[in-house]
């Protein structure tokens, strides 16, 4: 059985193993367009360099985005629903005066949200191009060694079809390396109102 939901899609048959003045160190203790979002560059084949990615979790999915894709991370804001839009589009949120569409990735990918993780809103893009992605726990920048790179594309939600560069295995967890630009483009198409 797939490590993800029964509705997962696999593009191959690979079998994969299955958060006043404060210093950061103190803190640590205690219809859009994707045009302004950087595309994650796939690693050069044969390269031994480590790849830095923005690691995010959505339920039992572990996703890697371009390291500089994230503009900021905020606590979820109330979103006003839009009629005739997919359920995973939670609506439009007011982020300091900017209207930002908010996408519930767990709903979009049809996975259960992680019970113990606090949800955060990861903001990608700027101005009219901004979008908020609801994720589980704080996204973190992480380096992945090429030795952990898997061959083939692991099972993934249908909505990610064509947007998974590959995957890394790290500490027993499979991380899907996502083409952010392509994924946001397909989301944009799904959100855009139909005409005629």
């Amino acid at each position: 059985m797939s490590p993800f939901s029964p509705k997962m899609h696999s593009t191959n048959d690979a079998v994969l193993p299955g958060g006043g003045t404060v210093r950061p160190s103190e803190a640590l203790d205690g219809g859009f367009s994707p045009a302004s979002v950087e595309a994650s560059a796939p690693d050069v084949p044969g390269s031994t360099a480590a790849a830095e990615r923005l690691a995010v979790r959505v339920g039992n999915l572990h996703l890697l985005l371009a390291a500089d894709a994230g503009r900021e991370v905020i606590l979820p804001l109330p979103a006003s629903r839009l009629p005739h839009t997919p359920a995973w589009l939670l609506g439009i949120a007011n982020v300091r005066g900017a209207l930002v569409p908010v996408v519930d990735l767990a709903s979009a990918f049809e996975v259960e949200r992680a019970d113990l993780s606090r949800p955060y809103l990861l903001i990608l893009g700027t101005g009219d191009d901004a979008i908020g992605l609801l994720v589980d726990g704080l996204p973190v920048l992480q380096r992945f060694e090429s030795i952990g790179k898997l061959s083939g594309v692991p099972p993934h939600p249908p909505m990610l079809d064509g947007h998974v560069y590959g995957a890394f295995e790290h500490a027993g967890v499979v991380w899907l390396d996502i083409n952010v630009h392509g994924f946001l483009e397909s989301l944009s198409e799904l959100i855009s109102p139909t005409t005629g």
Binding site: T21, V22, R23, P24, G70
Partner: protein, 120 residues
């Protein structure tokens, strides 16, 4: 590390002037920028000893500028202190993720700014 030259970045004229007066009043040489992109460019060209960087700015915000500075081989050793009205723990952690060495929440006092600079 001895701090002599400080790049102060803020898109607000008022906040920029305030920060500039605090820092220059303490004897530091001050250069200024009014956007994230300008901050990255001046960090490369002026090579300051430290950067005081506002977060909420249009286009490239302070988090993004910080990452650009701390990821550039030519500027990666220049410490960046974020200065922002965004005071959530999330913001401080995210700032640290982008390479910031300090975080001061607005409204700040002169002592808070100077303490951060002296701690570098």
């Amino acid at each position: 590390m001895t701090i002599k030259k400080v790049l102060v970045v803020d898109d607000s004229d008022t906040d920029l002037k305030n920060l500039e007066q605090i820092v220059s009043g303490a004897g530091y040489l001050v250069i200024t920028a009014k956007s994230g992109k300008d901050a990255v460019a001046k960090t490369r060209s002026e090579h300051p000893d430290a950067v005081l960087l506002d977060v909420i700015m249009p286009e490239m915000n302070g988090f993004q500028a910080c990452r650009a500075i701390t990821n550039d081989v030519a500027t990666k050793d220049i410490p960046v202190i974020l200065v922002s009205s965004k005071g959530e723990k999330t913001d401080k952690v995210w700032g640290a993720e982008q390479g910031a060495r300090g975080y001061v929440t607005k409204p700040f006092t002169a002592d808070q700014i100077l303490t951060e600079l002296r701690s570098l």
